[in-house]
């Protein structure tokens, strides 16, 4: 029950995109299609789970004054490993996400969860927090990417729903990301009564 609560907390109550408004850079930059948003979310989730686990294990060994650099070292090593992994096994996704994969290092969701959750809780809870927050991020990015892809090109996950000439090009470009995200946040706040 406790673990389920932590999961639920990450997906809904503290959703990093809609409620905490963390990690806006990849949210706006990589959601030009649903599949791009989802792969970015999953990549971040993988790093988040392992960084939460490692940091909660070694939290008592790290002196308080140097904890931020130590966290960054852990996160950066994980991201480098993930980058090589993606380059080897999913080269296409690696190519589309490009710079945004190494930028996961400075994603404030990961550092934020390390500081706010992993440094205060045990390893098992931290793993569940990583899964919850990661899922929340993935769902948000997939939703945003799906809306932008559908309105912009008439496709969803690459499947054509209506002709591309009916798509609004603005939603594929940067301003469309801001507009769609703004309305998504408004809808989520209204329905969740947060």
């Amino acid at each position: 029950m406790k673990y389920l609560n932590i999961l639920w907390n990450g997906i809904l109550k503290e959703n990093p995109t809609f409620v905490l408004l963390l990690g806006m850079c990849p949210t706006l930059g990589t959601t030009s299609s649903a599949i791009n948003g989802m792969s970015m979310g999953l990549a971040t989730m993988a790093v988040l789970i392992f960084s939460n686990l490692i940091i909660s294990c070694v939290k008592n060994l790290i002196p308080d004054q140097v904890r931020i650099p130590s966290y960054i070292v852990v996160i950066a090593s994980l991201v480098t490993a993930l980058q090589m992994f993606m380059q080897a096994y999913t080269p296409e996704v690696y190519k589309t996400l490009g710079l945004f994969i190494p930028l996961i290092v400075v994603n404030c969701i990961i550092l934020g969860r390390a500081e706010a959750f992993a440094a205060k809780n045990g390893p098992v809870e931290s793993i569940f927090d990583g899964i919850g927050i990661g899922l929340g991020f993935t769902i948000a990015l997939t939703l945003l990417g799906g809306i932008r892809e559908l309105l912009g090109t008439g496709k969803l996950f690459g499947a054509t729903l209506w002709a591309e000439s009916y798509g609004m090009l603005l939603f594929v470009l940067a301003p469309g990301a801001f507009i769609a995200l703004g309305y998504l946040i408004a809808v989520v706040k209204k329905t969740m009564k947060i």
């Binding site: 009916y166 609004m168 090009l169 603005l170 939603f171 470009l173 301003p175 507009i179």
Partner: protein
Amino acid sequence: MKPVISLSPHVHSGDSVQKNMYGVCIALVPALVASLCFFGLGAAIVMLASVASCVCFEWAITRFILGRKQLTICDGSAVLTGMLLGFNLPSNLPLWIIVIGALVAIGVGKLTFGGLGQNPFNPALVGRVFLLISFPVQMTSWPLSGQMGYVDAETGATPLALMKLAIKEGDTSYLDQLPSSLDMLLGQTGGSLGEVSALCLLLGCCFMLWRKIITWHIPVSILATVFVLAGLFHLIDPTYANPVQVILSGGLVLGACFMATDYVTSPMTARGQLIYGVAIGVLTVLIRDFGSYPEGMSFAILIMNGFTPLINTYVKPKRFGEVKK
């Protein structure tokens, strides 16, 4: 006899939102007549669709999404937004694109921020720029003036496209293909509904000045800045078009007289309005000559709309009795 007791002010000029909004609508009538003469049925369909969908969206969104009981469609602002949006569209635009434009103008541009008086950007221009970026092909294939039908009209290059081409290729022969200044003043060119007849727009502008709906500061400062800057470019390098044609082409007159002067989105003081006007003029010429789009008026106005709160903060009239340090 019972005395009437009321709070001050006791004398009222009768100025109201409705009066100003419908005043601007009346000022747009000559230009509307001109566009009907030049584009016929197409202009009528585009204009009707734009006004009707703007009013419908205003009513539906305030009623069902915002849940307000008060009826705001009678104040004329939605009608005016619809008219201005219609003037910014080519006369052969498909109806569904016009409806999307109206939804963005009213929904995103205006009601998201709380309705009339609270929108930071001119709603009609938000709709236009959204459509221009979203549907670049449909928004930039203008029928030639004198094509009366709604679909399958013959399209042609506008004066602005020719000017852009002359700069890009460094060849003044493109400028020789421009219609004469008199034709551009009367409206014998291709373009959006409100881009054709500068004369009718100026007539409407004079009407608004006479009725004191707007002051001279914004339109005059924009037109003067564009004239001086374009004239300077023309003197240095003749591949840049001559300043009279620059002013008469595209949506410059429409923007300067009707869009930039929107009460909500322009600065409040006369000095602020001059700064705003000059900046719009400079940005328009820069975007037209060096940007990737042939027309820069709408972008320039939207950019300066964003700066309006800043201008209002720093350009304040001197308070009575204030000593300058």
